[in-house]
């Protein structure tokens, strides 16, 4: 029935699921489903996509650690609806030639959107596969003119307690901040995601703009970004500040580096059923070929 030319997520989701979801979301007939162009966001397939079957949209949007909206994994789905994502602007500052506050449309202008089907691994030892849509962070940073003295990128989430109930509760020093070494930020695997499953990013997943660093634990992939700073020194990061013995700056997925709370040797696949849903953790979450070189000579047990 179909003449699919582009490789997109419809190729990796079992068709019945896919048809269901499309019909649900768009409320349209089966014939119209044929064209990949139907996805609201046109995104090119990527060589970096895994061919592992992604989790369902339901799973991806109802199991989120986004403490700005509450402690439980279902809280973001329940509470993120109130977040205003339009208008949205991102401040770029620090060691760049063209600092400023840019409108989201400006940020996204000319960014080539790709679909990146990535493995996603939480430090809590669960894993998903997510069909993100986004663009490489390197292209965006280059637009601002990164100065040679810049060694790190510091990124910040929106601080808006009126719309983010978790920020009204204590426990974490808001706003959430994260960071990457410049070479990590420039790695082609590192993307800014603006959508998933062919649609705009759901709010509970970090709309309208979030980082995705697939070889690191999920907490590095900061959501709802409002600020990007190029800096010379390693920036503070939220979890490292909270519990430095448990969460490091690098946070590379690594089965050999033990975490005080969770053995990282195995991970539980969300959607894997009741029995035997554990699988081996892959070093760098399976992205070693692309990223291991950046850490050559580093003691990864020390730089966890």
């Amino acid at each position: 029935m179909v003449n699919r030319t582009k490789l997109n997520w419809s190729h990796v989701t079992p068709k019945p699921l896919w048809l269901n979801r499309r019909a649900l979301i768009a409320g349209i007939g089966a014939t119209a489903l044929a064209s990949p162009a139907l996805a609201k966001i046109a995104a090119k397939p990527s060589q970096f996509s895994t061919d592992v079957e992604p989790n369902t949209l339901e799973e991806i949007t109802n199991y989120n650690n986004f403490y700005e909206f509450g402690w439980d994994k279902t809280d973001p789905a329940a509470n993120a609806g109130q977040l205003t994502t339009d208008p949205w602007s991102v401040t770029v500052d620090g060691l760049v030639d063209r600092p400023g506050t840019y409108d989201l449309a400006d940020i996204m202008k000319d960014r080539p959107l790709e679909e990146r089907i990535y493995r996603f691994r939480c430090v809590e030892a669960w894993a998903m596969v997510i069909p993100w849509i986004g663009f490489e962070l390197s292209g965006l940073l280059n637009r601002f003119g990164v100065q040679p003295s810049a060694k790190y990128v510091a990124i910040q989430t929106l601080l808006r307690p009126e719309e983010m109930p978790g920020q009204r509760a204590g426990g974490i020093n808001w706003p959430y901040v994260e960071g990457l070494r410049l070479d990590e930020a420039m790695n082609p695997l590192t993307i800014m995601a603006t959508g998933l499953y062919g649609e705009n990013l759901p709010k509970q997943n970090g709309a309208p703009l979030r980082l995705v660093v697939p070889w690191k634990y999920g907490f590095k992939s900061i959501k709802s970004i409002v600020k990007i700073s190029l800096v010379a020194e390693q920036p503070p990061t939220t979890w490292q500040q909270l519990q430095p013995s448990e969460y490091g700056f690098y946070a590379n997925v690594n089965p050999e580096v033990n975490h005080p709370r969770w053995s990282q040797a195995t991970e539980r696949k969300i959607g894997g059923g009741f029995f035997a849903s554990r699988q081996e953790t892959l070093k760098f979450n399976g992205y070693g070929d692309e990223v291991a070189g950046m850490y050559a000579g580093m003691d990864l047990a020390k730089n966890y």
Binding site: W126, N258, S263, T266, R268, F274
Partner: protein, 218 residues
């Protein structure tokens, strides 16, 4: 209060047991109807842990209820304690079977390396002899030692609560509330110097001994 007390006296023990299994039945219902969200494994594990905590702490409420409020529920205490133990066992099994997927070497390794699991398993180990001796024959056989043995419920509950707090990445208000409640309940057991009312001196039968006697009669 006396009327409530009299009314409660008529509640048979089996009714307490039946009520105690309602949370389990509800959980099974949610599993069967696929209503536990996208990660039923964690949800089952967490719910069982929370139910266990309710029963454990609930068991500690009984003595102060009698001494401060005048409500005597001592005859249901054994059922409540055993229910708590059953839920801890189910919680542990959910962890071993569903969460760890029976990867026993990793599970056992984890058990001794993760502080929160050390607290949890210690609580469980302390509860084992209590569960085994929660019957009339043991009470009779152990005599005063039964009371000494069952003192272990205090450290067990405390370890359970610490386990619960420790498994949180950031301790939330709810966690602190559980800790404060548990500590307050434990504080009611302390024999404050000068307060003679609640804990009789060694010679006469203590309140607890009376409680055991009461337990014997049911």
């Amino acid at each position: 209060m006396a009327r409530l007390d009299a009314w409660l006296k008529r509640v048979p023990n089996w009714a307490v047991w039946l009520a105690g299994f309602i949370p389990l039945a509800w959980l099974i219902w949610l599993v069967v109807t696929n209503d536990l969200g996208v990660d039923p494994v964690k949800e089952i594990e967490h719910r069982l842990g929370k139910i266990a905590l309710w029963f454990l702490v609930g068991g500690l409420v009984i003595t102060p209820l009698r001494s401060f409020v005048g409500l005597n529920l001592i005859r249901y205490r054994r059922a409540i304690g055993l229910l708590a133990f059953i839920y801890v066992v189910l919680h542990l099994m959910a962890w071993a079977v569903f969460d760890m997927g029976l990867l026993m070497s990793q599970a056992i390794n984890d058990l001794f390396r993760r502080p929160y699991l050390i607290f949890g398993i210690s609580a469980f180990i302390l509860l084992i002899p209590l569960a085994i001796t929660s019957n009339k024959a043991s009470i009779r056989k152990l005599g005063a030692n039964w009371r000494r043995l069952h003192w272990l419920v205090y450290p067990a509950v405390l370890l359970g609560v610490v386990h619960y707090l420790w498994q949180m990445k950031v301790i939330r208000t709810e966690g602190w509330i559980w800790l404060v409640v548990a500590l307050l309940l434990l504080a009611t057991r302390i024999k404050w110097p000068g307060s003679s009312a609640r804990s009789a001196p060694k010679k006469g039968p203590s309140k607890r001994q009376q409680a055991i006697n009461a337990a014997n009669k049911t």
